[in-house]
Amino acid sequence: EAGVAQSPRYKIIEKRQSVAFWCNPISGHATLYWYQQILGQGPKLLIQFQNNGVVDDSQLPKDRFSAERLKGVDSTLKIQPAKLEDSAVYLCASSFGTGPGNTIYFGEGSWLTVV
């Protein structure tokens, strides 16, 4: 079974530039998550989708971050304009459904460095 796919794996941009990350979840998984993991910290949920609808985006900095999952399958996370503090690993994850009995599977992450 294919896992959660993310691209690009690594990206270096200058501050104020924009960047986009793509995620393709495990086939059949209705729930998709984007997490931000800053060095030395645990992952923090940015946004959660159920199919193509947003369930939780309370911790998404909406002035610069946006995410979409238009067809309820793959998703894109965009940052514009980037700040130095956005340097982090952006982890995409998916699960069959919501609820603690559903294992959340993570991708390998997209590493962003803002200089």
């Binding site: 030395g40 645990g42 992952p43 939780d56 982890l91 919501t98 009995g101 599977y105 993570f106 390998e108």
Partner: protein
């Protein structure tokens, strides 16, 4: 809001020695608890989870954890580690009962370095 505290940021250990990673949670309601592992340059992988039932939970790669409600702890243990266990370990919690908010909240992580 629920949260988890991982009491050790770094744990060096010799190969074949036992290891314990400590995790405490804070919540006034029942919780679901998880341990994830992150190998270098990889995503997170579920090691084990406690949902209900037996308080001793066995996971992959020889790891186990014990849920202790009175001490609000969920410590992770392995009796004999290998070099390949070198990784970052994260404790995580989901608040249960009376909520549809199944947000997974992570601790800051514990770096385990296994030396020969």
């Amino acid at each position: 809001a629920q949260s988890v505290t991982q009491l050790d940021s770094q744990v060096p250990v010799f190969e074949e020695a036992p290891v314990e990673l400590r995790c405490n949670y804070s919540s006034s309601v029942s919780v679901y608890l998880f341990w994830y592992v992150q190998y270098p340059n990889q995503g997170l992988q579920l090691l084990l989870k406690y949902l209900s039932g037996s308080t001793l939970v066995k996971g992959i790669n020889g790891f186990e954890a014990e849920f202790n409600k009175s001490q609000t702890s969920f410590h992770l243990r392995k009796p004999s580690v290998h070099i390949s266990d070198t990784a970052e370990y994260f404790c995580a919690v989901i608040k249960a009962v009376g909520s549809n908010d199944y947000k997974l909240s992570f601790g800051a992580g514990t770096t385990v370095t296994v030396r020969a």
